[in-house]
């Protein structure tokens, strides 16, 4: 029987330890679940197995032969394929052409269409998808069918192991069942499946074995049914709470933001919320649950389908430009691409929203922009040579301070912070917590999305959990536990 083994794998990204001696064994004919919180290292481990990343330390073996793929194509040739969240298919090629891409059968210099059709229809048949038109351009297929095509391609290329990276995140409920049927077919044919998912109910339903990761280490494995969801959650959480959180005693004031049954274009499906002045409200949940989409909808970056929003005395959806005017500010989770204009200077970044404030007769005054920036550089302790330095030269923590300073400079009343401490060092985190605390104590309302539960428990007044597009009822952060929040987040 085939066997894929990873032993003692370690991987660092800069100062962050993603994997710290993790081990895993997947057998042929087995569906093996891999679970863990965001940042636990499960995706990193999968990408090392698929040849996307290289491990810093540890060994891997495939059927007892040493295995160290340097690229995805090497892994694929060795017999390991990965089905990505973003499907790796060519929309302009037909279904059959996608299945044989990279190993097209040729006869007399020309493509052997009969063989191509035979290979593709044979593999589609195994999954009960023989009704698919082999000549249809792939781009005209629904997502679920595309996933099947990608699985067929891996099988047709002779792969023994297929790694799935959260394959259900873009599927509806009925499509999930079709995918599960395909996974069972793979299992019955002796293919080994590694299945990464956030959703424990899926793991219990489909997986024969599960491995749990926490902070880059394996905290347990076994049969998901006999372990039970409660035990799996316990293995996922339980980190030591660091003593770096700041939460002054605050008294909530009037309601500043209220959302009623908000429904976005895709996510969230239903979110209701009230946030008061002088309050920090945390939103927990897994990646892809719809937290970012919710925040973006509130700020007018994404459209809404139904529901009501009220900010202060303003009713309804507004575009970002109006939201700034209404005293709402957003810090994006994607600092480099969306949060900051990375090649502009500190002063340009801080004064970017409603930059007309700094103009006279149409001419921007760089002196006044500089003066505004200098105040925040001093106030927030942004480490830089001058305010005219490019933001790209700053450390992650200082970049984040610039992003937040932008909100403070406008004196925004409602701060929407999406993963405000992602990828910054501990000292900077502490400073960000202080800024949040000062803002709330000063009468601003803060909504903070984070994947790191200890942080939410330490900083927020109330915490609501988003699960599959639904926002739960907020609970008091002082009495909530990591375990309860995680159970709600994984839909247990």
């Amino acid at each position: 029987m085939s066997l894929l083994q990873a032993t003692d794998i370690s991987k660092r990204f800069g100062a962050t330890v993603a994997l710290d001696g993790a081990s895993l064994a997947v057998r042929g004919g087995e569906i093996h679940g891999l679970v863990g919180e965001n940042g636990s290292g499960k995706s990193t481990l999968m990408r090392i197995l698929a040849g996307v990343l290289r491990a810093d330390g540890g060994r891997m073996s495939l059927n007892s032969v040493e295995f160290a793929p340097g690229s995805p194509i090497e892994a694929r040739r060795a017999g390991i394929a990965m089905v990505h969240q973003e499907l790796a298919l060519c929309p302009h090629l037909s279904v059959a052409e996608n299945i044989v891409l990279g190993f097209e059968p040729v006869r007399g210099g020309l493509l052997d269409w009969r063989e191509i059709r035979r290979i593709s229809s044979e593999s589609l048949e195994r999954f009960g998808y023989d009704h698919l038109d082999l000549d249809a351009p792939l781009g005209s297929l629904p997502v679920a069918a595309r996933q099947i095509v990608e699985i067929c391609r891996s099988l047709a290329a002779g792969c023994e192991f297929i790694l799935f990276d959260e394959p259900t995140s873009s599927l509806g409920a009925s499509d999930v069942q079709e995918l599960f049927a395909a996974l069972r077919t793979l299992r019955s044919e002796g293919v080994g499946v590694l299945y990464v998912s956030h959703f424990l109910d899926e793991i219990s339903e489909i997986c024969d074995r599960v491995t749990v990761l926490r902070d880059g280490r394996v905290t347990g494995d076994g049969d998901p049914e006999s372990l039970g969801t409660g035990e799996i959650v316990r293995m996922m959480v339980g980190r030591e709470i660091e003593d770096l959180y700041v939460r002054s005693d605050r008294r909530p004031g009037e309601v500043l933001l209220s959302a009623e049954d908000l429904r976005g274009a895709r996510l969230p499906t239903s979110a209701s919320l009230e946030v008061r002045r002088g309050e920090v409200l945390g939103i927990a949940g897994l990646n892809g649950a719809g937290r970012t989409e919710f925040i973006r909808a509130l700020f007018g970056l994404d459209p809404i389908r139904s529901g009501r929003i009220r900010v202060g005395s303003y009713l309804g959806w507004s575009p970002p430009r109006d939201r700034w005017e209404q005293g709402v500010g957003l810090v994006s989770e994607d600092r480099k691409e969306e949060g900051l204009a990375i090649n502009l200077t500190i002063s340009e970044n801080i004064t970017l929203p409603r930059v007309n404030r700094f103009s006279r007769w149409g001419w921007l005054s760089s002196a006044r922009r500089k003066a505004a920036a200098e105040r925040w550089v001093a106030d927030l302790g942004i480490k830089c040579a001058s305010t005219e330095q490019s933001v790209s030269e700053l450390s992650g923590g200082n970049q984040q301070k610039v992003a937040i300073a932008r909100l403070l400079d406008l004196d925004a009343d409602l701060l929407l912070l999406d993963e405000p401490t992602r990828g910054i060092d501990v000292a900077s985190k502490r400073l960000v917590y202080e800024i949040i605390d000062r803002a709330a104590t000063g009468g601003k309302a803060v909504v903070m999305v984070s994947s790191y539960l200890p942080e939410l428990l330490g900083v927020c007044d109330r915490i609501a959990v988003m699960c599959r597009g639904r926002l739960g009822v907020p609970r008091d952060a002082r009495s909530a536990s990591e375990h309860d929040l995680m159970e709600e987040a994984v839909g247990a």
Partner: protein, 323 residues
């Protein structure tokens, strides 16, 4: 979502182009019934189209792979100059012809190397070659037209002599059509052709599946160079001199032909047949306009409107189908 859908898309595109071509032909025939629908005029249009169409065959491959080539016009001019200089130096016509093609191949190799090995955007690389080739052409020709005695190369695109009327169209046009059929088959029925589409459609997916992306890109530009060189030969056949200032803006006409023919500048989409029809449509319009004695500026406006209109129509057609 069905096979019929897939076929229909390709077919409706070609059908649409044929209808457009017929409509344009009918319009000018109605306006100039004595001259426009005559065999002599059709032959003229075919001869004029041959140059653009030859270059368009290579350009279609480049655009389908997600690339672009802005240097076509300059390289064509350089090729005419190289051929003329070679002939003047006493080279046999066949050698001159091969040197003309080699000029294109060389520029294709340079472009391909920069794009695939050094990963510079093809727009930038070919913008550079666009200037370099034009400069070289002027330098080699000492900024003058290079006159040479006429050779058999001229007969490639010349008006057929009475004893050769059985050919219906000049040999250059037939050569172009034969190459078009060949290259359409290469694009559709060879591994290389499908890899070109795959690279243009989703480069990272192609790489993941083991498609040699760098090599495909390199070959695409070399192939483009072959056809640019051949277009240079045809141009020489028509003007019979080496002219460093000829074919200004030809590259844009070539790109426009491919785009009218349904190619997408974001890659993955385009057919040889479509591109040829695109070239034919543009040439028919300009021929019709000049026979109606419309000034050049009107032609330019009409052609511009048609380029944008064709893409707009394609977009509307796709969005209505929800694809």
């Amino acid at each position: 979502m069905s096979r019929a859908f897939a076929r229909m898309r390709g077919l409706s595109n070609v059908l649409g182009l044929l209808i457009a071509l017929a409509a344009i032909f009918a319009l000018f025939s109605a306006l100039r019934p004595d001259t426009f629908p005559q065999m002599k005029n059709v032959e003229t249009i075919a001869r004029q189209t041959a140059i653009v169409a030859t270059a368009t065959i290579g350009m279609t491959f480049i655009i389908v792979s997600g690339g672009i080539d802005l240097a076509v016009g300059s390289v064509v001019a350089l090729a005419t100059v190289v051929m003329a200089v070679a002939l003047r130096a006493g080279a046999p016509p066949m050698v001159a012809l091969l040197l003309g093609v080699a000029t294109g191949v060389l520029s294709g190799c340079v472009t391909g190397a920069f794009v695939s090995k050094l990963r510079i955007q093809p727009f930038i690389v070919t913008l550079g070659i666009f200037l370099i080739a034009r400069g070289l052409a002027k330098g080699v020709a000492a900024e003058q037209t290079v006159h040479v005695e006429t050779t058999w190369i001229r007969s490639l695109l010349a008006v057929l002599s009475p004893d050769k009327k059985w050919m219906i169209l000049p040999p250059g046009v037939w050569a172009m059509l034969a190459l078009a059929v060949l290259m359409a088959a290469v694009l559709r029925h060879t591994t290389f052709g499908r890899h070109v589409v795959a690279v243009g459609s989703n480069e990272s997916a192609a790489r993941l599946c083991g498609v040699p992306v760098g090599r495909v890109k390199f070959l695409v530009y070399v192939l483009g160079g072959v056809f640019t060189g051949l277009a240079g030969v045809m141009m020489f056949s028509r003007i019979t001199v080496g002219d460093p200032t000829v074919a200004m803006g030809l590259e844009l006409e070539v790109i426009a032909a491919a785009v009218i023919g349904g190619a997408s500048l974001s890659g993955g989409q385009g057919t040889i047949l479509g591109s040829l029809l695109g070239a034919l449509i543009m040439r028919t319009i300009s021929s019709g306009c000049s026979q109606c004695e419309l000034p050049n500026w009107v032609q330019e406006i009409v052609t511009g409107a048609i380029i944008v209109g064709a893409v707009l129509l394609d977009r509307l057609r796709l969005s209505r189908r929800g694809a």
